[in-house]
Amino acid sequence: MSIGPYHYLGLAAALFAIGVIGVVTRRNAIGVLIGVELMLNAANINLVAFSRFSGGLDAQIFAIFVIVIAAAEAAVALAIILQLFEKRSDVDVDRARTLRG
């Protein structure tokens, strides 16, 4: 059985779902960030798969931009986490609950 788009997309779906687990269950802000990065990678796998099975490189360009955005997002997220740490001396997202109703 040769590898077709379904394999790639299925793998991407799996990675995405795993990322969701991380985002939902982690208390450490960095753990949440890990989950988000996994989800972004899942999206990139889709793009690469489409690039491979449609013959163009444009999807790869988009993947590159996704990586760029992910880098920027990580930078800002880490800055926010650092501020959180300065304010509360830990990075437990569950303790940051100023939004509580």
Partner: protein, 669 residues
């Protein structure tokens, strides 16, 4: 015939407006406190005005410039327009305004030098020019009224310019309030016209009148005309509202020259001339008699005044009466012609007096003067020329215009008014002769001031020379024919039953009128009046025994005239005092009756309140508290979902997404 407006015309208004804005915001910080900006603005305006005048003059007779823009629409579909119309009236008045304004502005740079609020003075001057130009160019009564009120405002600010002195502030207030009385009349007139013609556009009003919208209610039209004219009574200081103008001389002299001699006060004459086609014969009679009475009474008061500017002020009132009389006897062209010539020589006289006052270190009383001709030759020469023009001496402009008014009065059958006018003309010549003699000739009566007197700087004398030159009759050859007797704007509206003055409205000069026509004795008499008046006026003082305090009138009449016919007292004791008493009465009623009622009902309310408070606490509050408690409980339940943990929100969002995806794929899809 309507012709499109040249595109530069709005700049006649914009140029001084922009200058005024700059002056207002930056004036104090500009070099020379910004006077050059303002002068530049008015120069542009003057240049464009003259260009416009020549362009208008090049049109076919009967053509005029007009352009209208829509302004705003009231509920009910009443659309107001704003527009500019340029015909002979407008063109000439524009040139008069901008020319005199330019010269006065230049004059002011020297006269006001060193004043603390120099920049503010120039701002108001410029703003006045803008307002006056709006008034002049307007093609509808609303815009005209706006300009009308704005010039009133500027006049108020400028009369009270030295407002640290109480009398000046009082004079400003007086001028403002008195002219406002006239404006009420004008508003009433405008409302009548608007109610009938459904428009404030002058053209539409004329068309409405011509189409017979007032048919069957000529009285209403008469009252509308008198109402409009009442605005002119206030602004042009006609009897019985003339009392403010002499007091307005408290303002700086250039202001007096510009506003209270040449331009603003002439706006009333302009208004009556502009609205002339709507006046019924009854209204015209009222106008003519008002003008005539004003001319004579003011001339008499001028005999008794010892302040140089007051003499000129009453002279102005008198001449304005002349103009109004000219309109009233059915010759608005003559009134406007006199307006033009008068603007020049009266501005010259005022600036000349300003020059004298400047030289005398702000002394205005004739008792300090005398013999100044030697010290101030240029001022004396120009002042004399203007005096000759005012007195109606041959070869001077006043001769042409004043005689035109008198002859029109005679020819239109107003014999009484003709003689009143003749008397006023003699009076005018007489008091001017007195003024010139007391001021410039004879021996100095105050040696100290005389020694310090000096000729004014060139920025003051050059405007004097220009204005004096423009008082010569050679400049006005055919002027009235071209500008005032050639029909233009009003000629679109041919003769109606309510308007019998054919040559104005149809543009056909009656064949019997011609320069030099009329009663053969007329010119001789008129000329003699002026010359004799001047001669007598001078001769009385020649001996040196008499001075400014000499009573020239019969004793009773003198007291009456010197007391300005006690009209100020009449107004103060009559209107103002009764108003005060009325106010006192109202206060008493308010304090005792109205307040009593209020207090009583308040006490009743208090009792009622005490009763209802108990009911309120038990029933209403109970219900409210129950609701609040229920809400609070619900909120407490709901807020558990609002944990503040971003992760929980995310979990919720992703959970919903999961459910949605599963549903979409497996159930719906």
């Amino acid at each position: 015939m309507q012709v499109d407006l040249p595109s530069y015309v709005p700049w006649i208004i914009f140029a001084p407006a922009i200058a005024a804005l700059i002056q207002h915001f930056r004036g104090e910080k500009l070099p020379r406190k910004g006077d050059l900006v303002v002068i530049g603005g008015i120069l542009v305006s003057a240049f464009l005005s003259f260009r416009l005048m020549f362009e208008w003059a090049a049109l076919e007779p009967g053509q005029y410039f007009e352009q209208t823009w829509s302004w705003f629409t009231l509920a009910g579909g009443h659309t107001f327009t704003m527009g500019i119309v340029v015909d002979g009236l407008t063109a000439s008045l524009l040139c008069v305004v901008t020319l005199v304004a330019t010269l006065v502005f230049c004059f002011s740079t020297a006269y006001m030098k060193g004043d603390e609020y120099y920049h503010r003075f120039f701002f108001w001057l410029s703003f006045f020019a803008v307002s006056m130009l709006i008034l002049t160019l307007a093609d509808n009564l609303l815009m005209l009224f706006m300009g009308w009120e704005l010039v009133g405002l500027c006049s108020y600010k400028l009369i009270g310019f030295w407002s640290k002195e109480i009398p000046n502030a009082e004079a400003a207030k007086k001028a403002f309030i008195t002219t406002r009385v006239g404006d009420v009349g004008m508003l009433i007139g405008m409302l009548i016209l608007y109610a009938t013609c459904d428009s404030l556009s002058i053209k539409a009003i004329f068309e409405g009148v011509q189409a017979g919208k007032f048919a069957g209610s000529e009285t209403a039209l008469t009252w509308a005309g008198i109402g409009i004219f009442f605005g002119a009574v206030g602004k042009s200081a006609q009897f019985p509202l003339q009392i403010w103008l002499p007091d307005a001389m408290a303002g700086p002299t250039p202001v007096s020259a510009l506003i209270h001699a040449a331009t603003m006060v002439a706006a009333g004459v302009y208004l009556t001339a502009r609205m002339f086609p709507i006046f019924t014969p009854d209204a015209l009679g009222f106008i003519a008699w008002t003008g005539g009475i004003t001319a004579l009474l003011a001339a008499l008061v001028a005999f008794t005044q010892t302040d140089i500017k007051k003499v000129l002020a009453y002279s102005t009132v008198s001449q304005l009466g002349y103009m109004i009389m000219g309109v009233g006897v059915g010759a608005p062209w003559a009134g406007m012609f006199h307006l033009t010539t008068h603007a020049m020589f009266k501005a010259c006289l005022f600036l000349g007096s300003g020059s004298v006052i400047h030289a005398m270190h702000h002394a205005q009383d004739l008792k300090d003067m005398g013999g100044l001709a030697k010290k101030m030759p240029i001022t004396f020469a120009t002042f004399s020329i203007a005096t000759l023009a005012l007195a109606g001496a041959p070869f001077f402009s006043g001769f042409l215009s004043k005689d035109a008014i008198l002859i029109e009065a005679w020819e239109n059958g107003h014999g009484a008014l003709f003689f009143i006018g003749l008397g006023a003309a003699f009076g005018t010549a007489f008091y001017m002769g007195r003024l010139v003699y007391l001021c410039f000739l004879g021996k100095p009566r105050n040696q100290e001031k005389y020694d310090h007197a000096h000729e004014s700087p060139w920025v003051m004398t050059v405007p004097l020379i220009i204005l004096a030159a423009l008082s010569l009759s050679v400049f006005y050859d055919g002027f009235a024919d071209k500008f005032y007797r050639t029909p233009a704007y009003a000629a679109e509206f041919p003769i109606t039953e309510t308007n019998t003055h054919a040559y104005w409205t149809t543009g056909q000069r009656p064949d019997d009128f011609h320069e030099g026509h009329g009663p053969s004795w007329f010119h001789t008499v008129a000329m003699l009046m002026g010359v004799i008046g001047l001669g007598v006026g001078g001769a009385i003082f020649m001996s040196g025994k008499r001075n400014e305090k000499t009573r020239l009138l019969p004793s009773g009449l003198h007291d009456l005239a010197a007391g300005k016919y006690y009209m100020d007292e009449l107004y103060l004791d009559g209107f103002v005092a009764s108003a005060n008493r009325l106010a006192d009465g109202c206060t008493w009623v308010d304090d005792n009756i109205v307040d009593g009622l209020v207090n009583t009902s308040g006490k009743g309310g208090l009792v009622l309140g005490v009763v209802s408070a108990d009911a309120d606490q038990l029933v209403v509050d109970g219900a409210v508290n129950l609701t609040a408690a229920a809400t609070q409980g619900a909120g407490a339940v709901a807020s558990t979902a609002q944990s503040g943990r971003v992760r929980n929100y995310l979990a919720a969002a992703l959970g919903v997404t999961a459910v949605a995806v599963v549903l979409l794929v497996f159930v719906i899809g």
